[in-house]
Symmetry: C2
Subunit: 356 residues, 2 copies
């Protein structure tokens, strides 16, 4: 039975304030309206095709995702231009990638020639063409090739059969949570210089480099203004969370976890039915919407709060802003979209668990 | 397509070594064979009905779970004696609980008379009888009533219509990870004394107290030997994890996350396709099965490792022991049961996401 009002939703549950989410979507779309870079929103945050379609309707250039399984969900929902911003390795997944390319314009990141060769072979077998970009190591020390080695790789990739070489990408993940805005700006500019140096190497090798993809919610207003970047992969802006709110305060928190009070053992202690399996834990404790509560501890199935003022009763429902929206959404099967207290939509989180 | 061999499983994936799991199940069953207390395994760890049935076949007295939604999954799979070791609050859930009682012998914990009254009313409406135990605060400072207040509550609960008062429970969660074995033993004994004091109060009030439920994997050999305790709610022993292994070394790690190498940017750096959304993070980093690898960092979709010796290639599969099995299992949709390298079973984690 679909609940009619927010108070009727069984908990723990993910609630989207639709008015706020729509404001976030419009605000980001507006920012990119007059920029040379386009927005390519990252679906790893919401994992939900209807939200991706809303982003496209507002002018996004395409959608980003993290995993092949997520791309498959998006393509099945009618989205063609999907960037998998990671490497896909292992022969069975590479075959799935080739098949998916027959039904979409999916783009995948590579950082070795061996991986590109395998993709080329699978694509030829599937009679598909696979779009490929090279991931550049821009300072995060994770995946990718350093700028000075990109041209050599691009030359070898571009001449492979059934591969369409499209450009380069980088992710300045090491800059996102730098608290000082000047320092964040400086480090992000440095990362973007590395990516643009890689692009220049590719161009000097006589290879077209249509896509230069980078960025995220934490750096959208730096990378989005950087000459030469063609698209920005922001994800979290759609919902925001307590951690991102400290970095990009112009977006509002649209997502909460709704929980129910299950125990009131002492005057000050409030126990809710949402713990580690309803929130995620990496970025710290959730933030109560009510200023009368302080979050003290998350255990597996319980949240422990301290009541500062007033009273709350067993069975009462409370809302909390997750510390990290992307991992919190990965724990739930659906969103309840609420407007003015009424449940307007129930959206399955279709790409949840599609990590493979 | 069901993979035939472990190497064919697409990643990230949860793999159970069935031989090891069966040894763990047998070892724990064996321990309780000659004890006055019975084992009531906690299904919050595996969330998988077929494993619960295996535990019952080996002599378990019933199954424990954390949530009403988990109990519904277990009952649908034919398990009748299910303890929900938490409070169920809010009228719509209480109605579900009453309905479930018509199809099972479900038992639920309460710690207020108001909650018990609501359950009684819903049970009467549903023409059901609901089994109830009182949660006692044994020192964890979470839910429950202190021992000295249990008799008053028991008297009021036991006389409610459509309620079967069955006993008391406590959880000594604050003792589980006490590293020093003597200190753990002392604190657990103290917690058990509080629970038994509560039972004595109930008995003195002239109310039968059939169930005295407590314990977990970390304290099974203390609480399981404690005179007066009737059942022990151990869960993690089935799979174990890197954290529990330090406490109860007699059980073996049966569960791993299988991951694929997606990038080898430097001689020492290995990047896998499993991050925060494939492991959980609360108890620390996962442990590589290979001694040649050190886990350095988990980000959302990536694990970053340092290679000490030898070589690993892109596309190669590696195994890792999660730091916390209960939350890791909550991120996946299925287990691959493997014996001697062959995939023998694929089991949906049916109660995953059943937190409501």
């Amino acid at each position: 039975m679909v609940p009619r009002f927010k108070e009727e939703i069984e908990t723990p549950a993910l609630v989207i304030d639709l008015d706020i989410m729509e404001r976030n979507l419009r605000r980001m779309a507006e920012y990119f309206r007059n920029k040379p870079a386009k927005l390519r929103p990252h679906a790893k945050t919401h994992k939900c095709p209807i939200i991706a379609h809303k982003q496209l309707l507002l002018g996004a250039a395409g959608i980003t995702c993290a995993k092949l399984g997520e791309a498959e969900v998006l393509v099945r929902a009618g989205i063609r231009d999907v960037l998998i911003a990671n490497q896909v390795t292992g022969i069975s997944k590479i075959r799935r990638l080739a098949s998916l390319s027959r039904h979409s314009d999916v783009i995948v990141a590579v950082d070795t020639v061996e991986n590109a060769v395998q993709i080329s072979e699978a694509a030829r077998e599937a009679r598909a063409g696979v779009n490929v970009i090279i991931e550049v190591e821009v300072g995060m020390e994770r995946c990718g090739v350093p700028p000075e080695k990109v041209a050599v790789l691009a030359r070898r990739v571009a001449r492979l059969n059934a591969i369409n070489f499209r450009g380069v990408m980088g992710y300045e993940g090491h800059c996102v949570f730098v608290q000082d805005p000047d320092e964040r700006r400086r480090k992000t500019a440095e990362a973007n210089s590395r990516l643009l140096a890689a692009r220049d190497e590719v161009l000097r090798a006589g290879i077209p480099c249509e896509i230069v993809s980078a960025g995220g919610t934490g750096t959208y207003d730096i990378t989005g203004r950087c000459e030469g970047i063609t698209e920005v992969q922001a994800g979290s802006y759609v919902f925001m969370d307590a951690t991102y709110k400290k970095i990009v305060s112009e977006f509002e928190c649209a997502l909460t976890v709704l929980a129910t009070v299950v125990s009131r053992p002492t005057k000050e202690r409030v126990i809710i039915d949402a713990g580690l399996k309803a929130f995620s834990e990496g970025f710290g404790l959730p933030t109560p919407v009510s200023p009368n509560l302080v979050f003290e501890k998350l255990s597996e199935e319980h949240g422990k709060l301290r009541l500062l003022d007033g009273d709350v009763k067993c069975g009462e429902k409370l809302e909390f802003i997750p510390s990290h929206c992307c991992t919190a959404c990965n724990l739930h099967d659906r969103y309840y979209g609420v407007r003015g207290g009424r449940v307007e939509a129930v959206w399955p989180i279709e790409a949840r668990g599609m990590g493979t």
